[in-house]
């Protein structure tokens, strides 16, 4: 068991973490590259800068705009995101591991706060899942990944909480830790290839949507030519 834990916590962690980071860098770089390319080709290079910045910041910190529609869903979703972002990065136990391997750490959340955030994240994940399966609309537009994600993300939080807070035997602890790491590593691998990629794409989304309307000057003629419709009457 120890050997398995060591492998899962060592090489497998490094591999899956690298897949996530490299995958996200790739997606982010592609979006930046696409934006630059689109800007270069755009017939009109005047962008509504203020509006883009306002909306980007507004949706990255949606404290003021979420509540106007669907307040309960918004609150649940908001809390879910807060825990998801803060706990894995700022948990003391995680920071210690980083310090051991890379030589430096960063300030941690207090254990109490981390516990509260963990529980809210678990509750929010379950609520989001229930919301999705019980709403006719949500079911209609959902793909398999939309159901899987909240549950999958809850697993490392549940197992982490159990390991940190409950009195359990060493064997159970080891199994829990194994599940904790494996489920987290599974999310790492899936993140760049599924909708959770929005974690790096949201900062660019307003820019991309605005650039989308800035067509290349020759695009109309180009399409006509490719389709062989240049001389064709309407």
């Amino acid at each position: 068991m120890e050997g398995v834990l060591e492998f899962v916590g060592g090489p497998l962690f490094r591999l899956t973490f690298a897949i996530m980071i490299l995958g996200l860098i790739r997606i982010f770089a592609l979006a930046i590259w696409g934006s630059l390319q689109a800007y270069r080709e755009a017939g009109d290079k005047v962008l509504p800068g203020k509006l883009i910045v306002r909306n980007t910041v507004g949706w990255l910190l949606p404290i003021f705009r979420l509540w106007k529609t669907r307040p309960i869903y918004s609150l649940v979703s908001f809390l879910f995101h807060i825990g998801l972002i803060l706990v894995p990065i700022f948990l003391l136990a995680h920071i210690r591991l980083w310090r051991d391997s890379i030589g430096f750490g960063w300030p941690a959340l207090s254990n109490n706060l981390a516990d509260i955030l963990t529980i809210t994240t678990i509750v929010a994940a379950v609520a989001l899942f229930i919301g999705r399966i019980t709403s006719r609309n949500a079911r209609f537009i959902s793909r398999p990944q939309d159901y899987i994600w909240p549950l999958l993300l809850a697993i490392p939080f549940v197992t982490g909480y159990v390991c940190n807070n409950l009195r359990i035997s060493a064997t159970v602890y080891q199994w829990m830790m194994l599940f904790h790491m494996l489920s987290a590593e599974l999310t790492f691998v899936m993140i760049p290839f599924t909708k959770v990629a929005h974690c790096v794409l949201v900062p660019l989304s307003q820019l991309v949507s605005n650039l989308g309307w800035k067509f290349p000057a020759k695009s109309g003629e180009g399409v006509a030519e490719t389709l062989g419709k240049k001389e064709m009457p309407i």
């Binding site: 696409g34 005047v46 709403s135 609309n137 000057a217 695009s219 399409v223």
Partner: protein, 491 residues
Amino acid sequence: MIDKLSDEELKHAFKTERKPEVVEKQKLNVRYHVEDPVVEGRAQKFLEAFAAILKNTNYGFVLDQYVRSSAKCSRCATECQVYQATRDPRDIPCYRSELLLSVYRRHFTVGGLLKGRLFGSGYLTDEKVNEMAESFWNCTACRRCSLQCPVGIDHGLVTHLGRYILSEIGIAPRALVVSTREQLEGKTGNTSAIPVPALLDTLEFLEEDMLEEKQVEIKFPIDQENCEYVFFPAVSDFLMEADTLMGNAAVFTATGDSWTIGTGYFDGINYGLFYSDRMLDRIVKKVVEETKRLKGKKILIGECGHASRSAKYFVPVFCGGKDAPPVINCMEYLWEQLKKGRIKLDPNVITDVVTYHDPCNISRQGWIIDKPREILRSFCKNYVDMEPKGMKNICCGGGGGTVSIDEIRPYRTSIGGKAKAEQVRKTGAKYLVAPCANCKKQLRELMEDQGLDVEVVGLHDLVYKAIIFDESLKKKAQEQVPQPEESEVEK
């Protein structure tokens, strides 16, 4: 926002005028008339058109962003007036976009192509193309949903692209295609097929009217070179919105600035914005060409939302970016002049309750919102706003070109416009000011079908009623006024 429509209302909204034999022949069950769609190999042709568009445009990188980040939260549904009226999940903006995004994912991304190869599934079918043909024209392209998408997807842009691809395989509302054909290739060169002599007659007639009503010589200058402004209203205004045009002319008479209407091209309408970027491109080029022919300095667009947006945002795109002639909307001009004190409006003329409808195409991106309100408040005693307004306004229900599709009027005035009708009803307004040819037509039909006694007018219509001319202009007119009897005899 609004309650779901009753089954009766929904049945009425979705009734179709299309003959079953045409539907059968075209293999296309949509409610708008279509001229000549591709029937054989429709899905394949759709993919070819999609590929051609991706090759020559930047849509690909936008779609990449959208397929990667779409979280399917359905938050957009709360903002969509069409969805609110039907409560049909197929009207959730995110679902509408997914129709096209799924095609992109399957046929134009490596992952999708691999998956398709491995499992041999998901190839685009004619049925799916037909579903898009229906769905993309159920949307009013108001882009209100884009304000609510946490991951920043502009569903309006996806619908816009979807319509463009469909149009390349012959699927677009006949009303729009026929008008655009006349505008770009027809004898008259405008969407309403008004010949130049008829235009000149109309304007002369309006000038006589204005002289009689205002005792001031108000002119529509024709083909004058080197003017500050070359004027392009929605051409239908020459037939339907005389009061708006008279307001425009009155404002210029009062300020004395130079403006002109060109007989080479005088149509601000651009249905390309609604169904084809290729047409959008060709039409804005005509506007710029005429402005250059007349050596005008600026392009002035009349009261029309989509005409204003297509000129303001797409003249630079297709006609030289910063070097393209500047575009302004007539309300911006009026506001400037009012602020400079060059326009005087009588505050005692319009005493009834007035409210203002923001056309989506000029308000959604925050372009013109406060200026018309300031103008109206300056002389209308009883001005009230609707809620929500400005960037968050509710569409008239005929946006995105749907207003020109007469055969879907029941859809527009029930599903599309229900939310707007409720909003207007709450204000108790006598005058509903809608500075847009499309909105005006839709709102008049909406008021009629929803049983509201509200007069839909343009902003310049009210300005025309209230404008105060300098005494010197009146004197000048008196000196030049012809004997009425003589002109009657001549006629």
